[in-house]
Subunit: 412 residues, 2 copies
């Protein structure tokens, strides 16, 4: 049973939470392997909004006290806290350790297993961050998202995953992949917890939001080319019906973007940029398969890339015009189904396009399949409307959870 | 007399160029003070497209061999090459030194003087980079631009300054100010040289472009609220007439964006982001005046910032729709006039808005006032059409220079 961090307000409650987390770590880390390295004796700070809070940090984010390996074997990162890490420490948080990630976000699985089923992937590339929160080892974990590396593992692991608006959280000290697509991501156990952390980093004070009932929601109907599991689609339909029963106006719309760009635009941008970001000269060479893929993009000129950038700008404005003023959030699956077997980190297609659009996205652990494996509900908001998206998400999260839709396996 | 780097092709010509550069350094650096530190005995490499090329690098960009002070007194940067520096070295370039900049881009002047008049500013924040190229110390200098820190000093110093499309050149290892606005900038003595360097960094091979005559150009007529010097406006009018005489169709249009956003949108974005990027926790505290300015933005919530981000996206698409297919470039002044006196790094108003729009911009040293002080002609292109903008710029540069419009003081 995970308790939301924000519920554990008193020093005693936080101490009890940490004890449960460290007990869980002793019991399950040998199987789950969420961490590259960790220190259960890490000194707890007792001041600040994140006092006595354990946090895991993805191993692409530089830290002064732990090595940084970018998902490779070697410690190659600078021994200096990334901006986000320095910020979390200043707020009183304690870094329990560095979480496993796939090398440079490339879908070669790391060693982490899914806390709901050790034969399945936790997703990637923020594998260990999602698993560490799902297993109850930490209250928060920091990940990143360039395609779907936060939303997808959150869905697979049955936790809340949040990708903020582009530019909202500093990437200083974080290994870049594609500068116009890279985002920090946050894993937690409720939207409210997510905003508590994000607002502490970005606002003058940590904000404890309450859920706010949306007026209108837009549900996206996806074309058959996108391989969404049947039961997943049925869950979203059922959830829409329930929300509609609460008096929320639900509009359903066919995906209003060309399917080819929905599937491939982000890849075109990502590979072109990554070829100029992570091929040598670089601190560390990428895995050979990735190097071979990127080498092709290293040789391509600006023309296609530039056109893709301009289409992306057009879609950004189209999305904002579609949602603006009308809808509190856009709803769609967070992945194509439950976590696949361990040899495959899964398909990022439900996130890629929105990552390129720079809009805030969140995955809520409110569905599961017949075997109790989690399926996330994804909500999208307008650029910069991160707080508003989270207020809507918190309301939906509480509502769908309370109606028995959320039984995401072993950790709840 | 500066010779364009691309003209000096043989080893002998490059050796002669370097000798002239080092002689100029001995003669004038005591007055100009372009460098924080430099090493005239820096080992020359003789392989690669940039073999035997001296380059200056702005002191916000990390280097393994020189200290990095971010315009402050202390060496606080990591002792590791930024991505762009590693890339330049791999291409055979030699770093002559680190160039002076204002602290965190804040317009507190550094010690560099304008090579055309030591009582005047070289502009900022890439002060030393612009001055080092103008004084003939180096063939290229790397700067940055978050508001107008490349285009304006290029205009004041009578050199070519280029701000590429957002995301084109890696900022890894460069001190961030505002993540959605930060760009690398390049100083050189011709558009062709600029593209030789940029393409060497971004493309499979260094490209030697030739000028290409544009079909249509859009000249922006600026509202009276923008304090452009009368002679500057007259120069642009005269240049337009000459280009029209060459058979280029010139369209003149009133600035098609709200003047308030043209002047202030970038500031709103910049200060909000900078408050989250350069206030503590940070390696180095900003200057007190900047810290006080940013503290106000640290306390403001997301609402206004988010709205500004969304307006910015709309303007990006508007600009692209306006220019797209119709015009080869947009013409306007690169600054409001010649370099002001040394106590003031000048007004970035001619660049701020376009920086936020992420489009490529270049300043060409083709005008000067009655006292021989340089005035730059700014050209803007479509996002990602950097090469095309430079081909147009090279043609205009050769044409206006050859027609006697370009006599930018002491260095030509």
């Amino acid at each position: 049973l995970i308790t939301d961090f924000c519920i554990a307000k008193t020093p005693a409650a936080r101490a009890a939470l940490i004890k449960r987390q460290l007990d869980a770590l002793v019991e399950r880390e040998a199987t789950i392997q969420a961490f590259v390295c960790y220190d259960p004796k890490a000194v707890l700070q007792h001041d600040g909004p994140l006092a006595s809070t354990l946090i895991g940090v993805k191993d692409v984010i530089a830290t002064a006290d732990y090595p940084t390996c970018y998902g490779m074997a070697e410690d190659v990162g600078p021994r200096e806290d990334a901006r986000c890490v320095a910020c979390l420490r200043q707020l009183g948080a304690t870094l329990l350790g560095k979480t496993v990630c796939t090398a440079f976000g490339y879908p070669l699985p790391g060693r982490t297993t899914n806390p709901h089923d050790a034969t399945r992937t936790p997703g990637g590339s923020s594998s260990g961050s999602a698993a560490a929160v799902a297993a109850g080892f930490v209250s928060f974990a920091i990940g990143t998202q360039t395609a779907g590396s936060t939303i997808r593992p959150a869905s697979y692991c049955g936790v809340v995953g949040f990708k903020p608006s582009y530019g909202l959280l500093s990437l200083e000290g974080v290994q870049p992949i594609a500068p116009t697509l890279d985002h920090l991501g946050i894993f937690a156990t409720s939207p409210r917890d997510v905003w508590y952390l994000v607002s502490a980093m970005v606002m003058p004070h940590a904000e404890l939001v309450t859920g706010r009932q949306p007026n209108r929601l837009l549900v996206l109907r996806l074309p058959p080319q996108l391989p969404v599991a049947d039961d997943y689609a049925a869950h979203i339909e059922e959830a829409s019906a329930r929300l509609s029963g609460e008096g929320i106006k639900i509009t359903t719309l066919d995906l209003p973007f060309p399917i080819d760009d929905f599937r491939h635009l982000q890849k075109e941008l990502c590979y072109w940029e990554a070829a100029r970001t992570i091929l040598p000269p670089c601190r560390v060479r990428p895995v050979p398969a990735l190097e071979a893929l990127l080498a092709r993009y290293r040789d391509s000129d600006l023309t296609n890339y530039a056109a893709a950038r301009r289409r992306c700008q057009t879609y950004q404005v189209q999305f904002d015009t579609l949602v603006g003023g009308e809808y509190d959030a856009v709803l769609l699956p967070a992945a194509t189904g439950v976590a696949p077997m361990i040899s495959d980190t899964g398909d990022a297609v439900m996130s890629r396009f929105w990552t390129a659009l720079h809009v805030p996205a969140i995955s809520l652990p409110v569905f599961c399949n017949d075997h109790g494996l989690p399926l996330g509900l994804q909500l999208l908001g307008r650029l910069g409307m991160d707080r508003s998206l989270i207020e809507t998400s918190q309301w939906i999260f509480e509502r769908l959870r309370n109606q028995g839709l959320s039984v995401s396996g072993t950790t709840r």
